[in-house]
Symmetry: C2
Subunit: 342 residues, 2 copies
């Protein structure tokens, strides 16, 4: 088969690779229905995160089970599954506490921008649907795997409750789905910080009640205006820079919470500054596995349509163009469609 | 009267000062029953925190109301009161949310290492007892004002619940009262990190079930051993350095919480490191006013005896020796006893 490999900054190749095989009895092999490019793939693509050797790319996935190892019990050949980008056993104390992204056997999915992929710890990582879903639901089910699960965790970590006032920093796909998540959790007011018209539009569609296009001190002043001088109850940080983190913290009321899910790059936080804000911080790689059953149900029931963040769909073979479009901000997020064995 | 003024590093003077007067209708003047030296007073005493001009010291206090301004409604002359080290109106949205240390009219108490002190926003800052308490309860009631309130906030911010496994980093008075607080909140296992025998003893008396004297990687390994490889549910950070903060974070399980109350000095946190731990951080200056009614009741009912952290009592006039004893770790915390107008 052919799959996606990153060789270095802006060097994405779609090339011949071995088809994945069962290596351990807890593995499953899946045939990808759809896959995509993640915002976090852009860190190594842009050279901000170094890679040591050619890296098989792709960690968001859903598809049909082709084969399972002898120890796999909860999924079987022919089922449609959605999995988390974090590989987890779902039995260790950290998993049982709902933090599968801190699993004692944690690994990260890779190589899913391909027609087939191996999923370790299949029982602990995958959730099967009762029936094979209709094709129009595939983009939304794919979104559950990471980008929605991550936006959902941002809102959960920021302690969004019915009636909350929420700010979302970052208008990438995660931020936009953070808006959707906050709305689902009953937030009354959702302020999306965005400077791009197409993203503002989608934010409003997902539930944003206010748009703030200013950043830095001006952006914070606008949030304070909207919240009667107090700041927001919950702020979702969906970027990962020091600026966006400070924007988030300074937009929060004392005793409020920041949920941060943008992988921090070069963010050295002066803790004394944070101390006097009295803001709660919680974040990290999202424990998507915890949310999978609920989020899959919301999609299948037609309650949410997170697949709308995919504003570009390409054949998998054109994956390099998919990266370029996101890098140049021509696309929010690129859906990739495998065809046969490519 | 004579009161305490810090002129520069290790230059504490007990000198003639004007007696405080009502300046605003919301003020009260109190006669201190007892007062004390705070661990945080040592930052400027040691020159780590610069002072611009001679600073009247002291922010922990309890005593008799001598006079109130015309707008004060909830306390009156002749009552015994305990107040928070944070001055708050207790009516703004931040106060109503329980974060009086983020009050929109926030100020910090000062000048309480003296026979008399002025307390602004008396209604929002002070709580009166029904009767004048017996003298043996004074040290514990004084502790409520800051050092216990701060330890209590550390435990609350670290989300201590019945059955929790708790680690306390720092064996100063705040850390020791963090142990007491965790015990009161129903923690099952309380691991005190301490290298000093007298403090270990008090920690055990307050409820510590385990003592870890190692620090750094070794200390973390010991905590992991005790918690079956998982880490603690809740960790109280009661020091304020980068080392102690990382010690706290790395001792916490994924999804667990660090409550940090040591004022951070030189603590630049690499947020990417924190991100992958999945640890929740909450801290800041303690909203003691929120806890005052409950903590005063626990002391008056004889349920807790936080005054035990005072292992040195001196006449107020010997305040300089009180600072020296704490600086040289000869004392955990110094109680100061005013006598008349000194």
């Amino acid at each position: 088969m052919r799959g996606t490999v990153l060789y270095g900054p802006r060097d994405v190749r779609f090339e011949e690779r071995d088809e994945p095989k069962i290596l351990k009895p807890t593995d499953a092999i899946i045939r990808l229905s759809v896959t995509c490019v993640c915002g976090s793939d852009l860190w190594p693509y842009r050279g901000i995160q170094k890679i040591e050797q050619p890296a098989p790319m792709g960690h968001e996935y859903c598809g049909m089970v082709e084969e399972v190892g002898s120890a796999v019990k909860t999924v079987k050949k022919g089922q449609f599954v959605v999995g988390s980008f974090c590989i987890s056993d779902n039995t260790c104390p950290n998993c049982r506490a709902g933090y599968q992204s801190g699993c004692q056997n944690l690994d990260f999915m890779s190589g899913a921008q391909a027609p087939y992929a191996r999923v370790p710890f299949a029982d602990g990582t995958l959730v099967a649907t009762r029936e094979v879903p209709s094709p129009d639901l595939l983009p939304s089910l794919l979104a559950v795997s990471d980008v929605l699960g991550t936006g959902w965790f941002a809102a959960d970590a920021a302690n969004v409750k019915p009636g909350s006032t929420v700010v979302v920093v970052g208008d990438g796909a995660v931020g936009l789905l953070g808006v959707l998540s906050a709305k689902q959790m009953g937030a009354e007011r959702i302020i999306a910080m965005s400077r791009h018209e197409s993203r503002q539009k989608l934010a409003r569609e997902f539930g944003a009640t206010d748009i703030v296009s200013e950043r830095g001190d001006e952006g914070i002043a606008r949030v304070k205006d909207i919240t009667k001088g107090v700041g927001a109850d919950s702020v979702l940080e969906c970027v990962g820079t020091l600026d966006s983190m400070m924007q988030a913290i300074r937009s929060t009321r004392p005793g409020g919470s920041v949920g941060y899910v943008g992988v921090p790059h070069g963010a050295n936080l002066d803790l004394q500054q944070v101390f006097f804000t009295l803001v709660r911080l919680h974040g990290g790689p999202a424990p998507v596995r915890r949310y999978l059953p609920n989020l899959i149900k919301l999609v299948l029931d037609g309650k949410i349509n997170p697949g709308k963040v995919f504003d570009l769909a390409l054949p998998l073979a054109q994956v390099a163009e998919g990266y370029r479009a996101m890098d140049e901000r021509r696309a929010i997020k690129t859906l990739l469609q495998p065809s046969g064995r490519n």
